[in-house]
C-alpha cells in the first residue's frame, strides 16, 4: 500500500470572521499529479500559500503531514529543503539576477540549459538575461516553470502555470508537469485550463474553502463545468441550483 506524500486534514484559515479554507482535507500520493479546480475566490491560491508557508498565511487549525513532518510547523526554506516548492501565479522580478543564477539557486553545479529547452526557451538567448521587468509575462512564467523543474521537487505546487503563456505553449506546460512526475515528484496543479487539468491523475474541486468533488479528472472537470454546487448554491463557484 502506498503511503500518502501529503495528507492535509481539517485545514482551516480565516481572515477575521471569514473562513477562506474550511476544514479542508486533501491527500496527494507520491508521483501523483493532482489538479485543483475552482472558481476565483474559492481558496486555491490560499491553499498554495499555506502549504508553502508564505508570510501572513498561518492556519487557524489543521495539519499537513508531509513525509512524517507537519509542513505547517516549518519555515518556508525548510519546506523547500524537504522538496516542496511553489510556482507563483504572478512570479517575482529580480533586478540584476540572471536566468542562469535563478535556475541554479543553491545548486551551482547544475546545468540550467535542459530545463530552459523544456519550457521552450533558447538557452543561448536567455541564460544571461536578467529575471527583471524586461521579460514578458509569458517569458517570466516559463522561467518560473524551468526554475521549479531544475529543483527536482518532491512536491511542486503550480499556481495557474498557464497564466500569460500563449495557447500554442500549453504543450510546454504539460511537458513540464509530466517531467516533474518523471523526476519522481508529485504536483499540486492549480489551473483553470481544462486541457492541462486533463493530464492529472486525480483532481478536486474547491468551493468556498472546501473540497466539494474529488476523483477522476474527467469527472471533476465535468462537475466543474456545470453541475450544481451544494455548498454555496452557486454564489461562489457560479453554478446554478438545479
Amino acid at each position: 500500500m502506498t503511503l500518502p506524500l501529503l495528507e492535509i486534514r481539517n485545514l482551516t484559515f480565516a481572515v477575521g470572521d471569514q473562513k477562506i479554507l474550511d476544514r479542508l482535507c486533501l491527500t496527494i500520493y507520491p508521483r501523483e499529479i493532482h489538479a485543483l479546480l475552482g472558481a476565483n475566490g474559492s481558496g486555491k491560491t490560499t491553499l498554495a500559500y499555506l502549504l508553502m508557508g508564505c508570510e501572513g498565511y498561518v492556519p487557524t487549525a489543521g495539519t499537513a503531514m508531509f513525509q512524517g513532518a507537519d509542513l505547517l510547523l516549518l519555515q518556508m526554506y525548510e519546506r523547500a529543503k524537504l522538496g516542496v516548492t511553489l510556482a507563483w501565479q504572478e512570479p517575482a522580478r529580480f533586478e540584476g539576477i540572471t536566468v542562469r543564477e535563478y535556475l541554479t539557486l543553491g545548486r551551482s553545479e547544475s546545468d540550467p540549459k535542459p530545463v530552459l529547452v523544456q519550457v521552450g526557451l533558447d538557452p543561448d538567448r536567455y541564460l544571461n538575461r536578467r529575471v527583471d521587468k524586461a521579460l514578458s509575462g509569458g517569458e517570466r512564467h516559463r522561467i518560473e516553470l524551468a526554475s521549479v523543474l531544475s529543483m527536482k521537487p518532491t512536491l511542486a505546487i503550480l499556481d495557474e502555470p498557464g497564466a500569460g503563456i500563449d495557447m500554442l505553449s500549453t504543450s510546454h506546460i504539460i511537458s513540464v508537469i509530466r517531467m516533474l512526475k518523471e523526476n519522481g515528484g508529485a504536483v499540486l496543479l492549480i489551473t483553470h485550463q481544462e486541457e492541462v487539468a486533463a493530464i492529472a491523475d486525480s483532481a478536486s474541486q474547491l468551493c468556498n474553502g472546501r473540497i466539494i468533488c474529488s476523483g477522476d479528472p474527467t469527472h471533476v472537470i465535468e462537475h466543474f463545468r456545470g453541475r450544481t454546487c451544494v455548498r454555496c448554491d452557486g454564489e461562489v463557484c457560479g453554478y446554478v441550483r438545479a
Binding site: 516548492t85 540584476g96 543553491g106
Partner: protein
C-alpha cells in the same frame, strides 16, 4: 611598501587589475595625496596635470576625432590612515572623440581622511564619454568624500557615468553632479552604494535637458544597513521639444538605517516628458519568498537580492 604599491594592491577591490599600470597601451594617472606617482598617455590623449601644495590640478583632453581604445585609468587615493586629497580636473572630450575612463578612488586604511574632487567635463558634439568610478574607503568608516562635477554634453554627444561603492565602509559621502544636455545628447547617470554602520550619504544628481530630443536617465540603487543614513535627490528638468527624462531611485533599508529619496521632475516645454519612480523599503517580500521557496535561507535570499540590485 611604497605608496604606489599600497594603492595598486587594492585595485582589485574596485574590480581592476594591478597590472594595468605596466601596460603601455593603457593611459593612466596615479595620484597619492597631492603627488602624482605615475602617469602615462597614449596617442589622442593629452594629460596636463601638476602637483600643487593644495591639490592635483590640471586638464585631460581627448583630441577631436580620437578614439582611445583602452580605458584611461585614473587612480587617486591615500595609502595612510589620515590625510587630505584634492583633485581639480577639467576633462574635455573634443568633437567626435570617444573615450572610457575608469576612475579608482582608493583609501584602504583611512581612519580620518578626506578626498575632494572638483571636476568639469565638456563633451563636444558627437563625442562619447563613459566614466566608471569605483570607490574603496577601507573598513574603518573614516573617510569624508566630496566629489562635485559639472558636465556639459554637446549636440549629439553621449555621457554614461557609473559610480559604485560596494565594498568596505562609506564613511561620509557627499556627491553633487550637475549635467546639462544639448540637442540629441544623452546622459545616463547610475550610482550604486552599499552603506553600513554609521555611514552617511548625500547624493544629488541633476540633469538639465536643454536641447531638443535630449535624453536623461538618473538611476540610483542604495542599500543601507545598521545605522546608515542616506538622502538621495534626483532632479531632471526638460526645457526643449522632444526631451525625455527618467529618474529611478531604489533604496533598500535594513536594521536601524534611514533613507529618503526625493525625485524632482520639472518640465518647461509642452512636448517634453519626464517620469520618475522611487521605492524605499525592506527587501521585496515576494522576491524573498520566491528564493526561500527554492531553498535559500532568509539571509541567503536577502544577500542575493541585494547583490542583484547593486550590479
Amino acid at each position: 611598501m611604497s605608496e604606489l604599491e599600497a594603492l595598486t594592491r587594492v585595485l582589485p577591490m574596485v574590480g581592476a587589475e594591478s597590472t594595468i599600470l605596466d601596460d603601455e597601451r593603457i593611459a593612466h594617472v596615479v595620484g597619492h595625496g597631492h603627488q602624482i606617482l605615475s602617469r602615462r598617455t597614449v596617442p589622442g590623449l593629452q594629460l596636463d596635470l601638476e602637483e600643487t601644495a593644495e591639490a592635483i590640478v590640471g586638464k585631460m583632453t581627448v583630441q577631436a576625432g580620437a578614439t582611445i581604445e583602452q580605458p584611461i585609468h585614473l587612480c587617486f587615493g591615500l595609502a595612510h590612515p589620515t590625510g587630505s586629497q584634492r583633485i581639480q580636473i577639467d576633462v574635455s572630450v573634443e568633437e567626435e572623440a570617444t573615450a572610457r575612463v575608469l576612475s579608482h578612488c582608493l583609501f584602504p586604511a583611512a581612519t580620518a581622511a578626506e578626498h575632494r574632487m572638483q571636476a568639469t567635463i565638456n563633451i563636444g558634439p558627437g563625442a562619447s564619454l563613459t566614466y566608471t568610478e569605483g570607490h574603496y574607503h577601507g573598513p574603518h568608516g573614516g573617510m569624508l568624500v566630496i566629489p562635485h562635477a559639472t558636465v556639459k554634453i554637446g549636440k549629439g554627444a553621449r555621457y554614461f557615468s557609473d559610480f559604485s561603492l560596494l565594498s568596505g565602509s562609506v564613511g561620509s559621502l557627499d556627491i553633487d553632479y550637475l549635467v546639462e544636455v544639448e540637442e540629441d545628447g544623452i546622459a545616463e547617470l547610475t550610482a550604486k552604494i552599499f552603506a553600513h554602520k554609521t555611514d552617511r550619504i548625500a547624493l544629488k544628481e541633476t540633469v538639465m535637458l536643454r536641447g531638443e530630443r535630449s535624453r536623461g536617465l538618473i538611476k540610483t540603487r542604495v542599500v543601507l544597513e545598521d545605522n546608515a543614513r542616506a538622502e538621495i535627490i534626483g532632479i531632471t528638468e526638460a526645457h526643449a521639444k522632444g526631451a525625455r527624462g527618467h529618474v529611478d531611485c531604489m533604496e533598500i533599508v535594513q536594521g536601524q538605517a534611514h533613507a529618503s529619496a526625493i525625485p524632482i521632475v520639472r518640465v518647461f516645454h509642452p512636448e517634453a516628458k519626464v517620469t520618475h519612480e522611487a521605492a524605499i523599503g525592506s527587501v521585496d517580500k515576494k522576491e524573498l519568498e520566491t528564493l526561500m521557496a527554492r531553498g535559500l535561507t532568509p539571509e541567503q535570499a536577502v544577500e542575493m537580492i541585494v547583490s542583484g540590485i547593486l550590479r
